[in-house]
Symmetry: C2
């Protein structure tokens, strides 16, 4: 019996989530069948807006914030940080015609749970090396007050030299207890 | 009559997409009502996977790739570029327990439509300044062959010193004509 365990474990380890995608995607493609060819919409968001939110797995951005295909750029990174979105935003505004930015932070975010110095030490203790270990900003939240972080991110964008001065910028909290949103800025 | 035009235009200019979010979100919150409190799932993706795709407005990541709330980190940036996802991926893997990465590029991407040098010149001609105009990489696709870009991005991750060596990494194309996906790597 025990000789089988390593195989069982290794087989479970070898499961790729990627292998599940074609089947789920087939359902989506079939459902879309009657609708528009998405290429016909073109790459410019019809609502001229870009939304920034966290990569958090619990956030279904289209459903939670009410977007349909074609309407809004969706930029997602760890923490939903503005400073990690500039490259995308500049292309969004200059090449693809957006003029509004919505920043959406959320409760229970993993970016409240670590400090940068400890995280760097932890990486080194696990054997990771290279200049990024010391130089990359991992962007944990700078305040434990979620409103404060949002205000900082909105101000960051308002003062960034590559963001259009006339941009409409708002900052929000998504409460993951019930999925609701609240505007902060 | 003509004296009213500026007001009409300015009022249409003052419409914020942000103002539409609370109403759409209310529908979502009501629908979710009977389901789990999302905070109870916790910030660690239950499928231990992070998906990277483009910010393109036509991609409804949860529906198109078959994810439910809680299952997968979703990282989105202009082009769905791996090199612009490292910070998020390191936190995803080291703090939040993921060990698989799915890179999903798509057809008709805006990042095929510009060259970096021209884009910098264009920014300057519009009056933008600061070191980022010359130093920031805006990451247009390096090849007109979509498969080539995906292979480059997968290799970039496989060789990055801060990405777990044992990561399961796959590369895909999302065809926006019908929403279908095709695995490349």
């Amino acid at each position: 019996m025990s000789s089988m365990l390593p195989n069982v474990l290794s087989s479970s380890n070898d499961n790729w989530v990627a292998d599940e995608i074609p089947k789920s995607n087939e359902v989506y493609v079939t459902k879309r069948g009657a609708k528009l060819n998405l290429e016909e919409i073109g790459p410019k968001p019809t609502k001229k807006v870009a939304l920034i939110c966290c990569m958090d797995a619990r956030i279904d951005a289209f459903s939670a914030f009410g977007f349909k295909e074609g309407e809004s750029h969706i930029i997602r990174n760890g923490g939903g940080r503005a400073s990690d979105s500039i490259r995308s935003l500049v292309i969004s505004q200059q090449q693809l015609g957006t003029n509004e930015i919505i920043i959406m932070h959320h409760t229970d975010c993993g970016f409240f749970t670590f400090k940068e110095d400890e995280f760097r030490k932890n990486l080194k203790s696990k054997g990771f090396s290279g200049p990024d270990v010391d130089l990359m900003s991992f962007m944990p939240m700078s305040s434990s007050d979620i409103n404060e972080n949002i205000k900082q991110d909105v101000n960051y964008l308002k003062n960034h030299p590559l963001i259009k001065k006339e941009s409409k910028i708002s900052g929000w909290v998504n409460d993951l207890k019930d999925g609701s949103v609240r505007r902060v800025v």
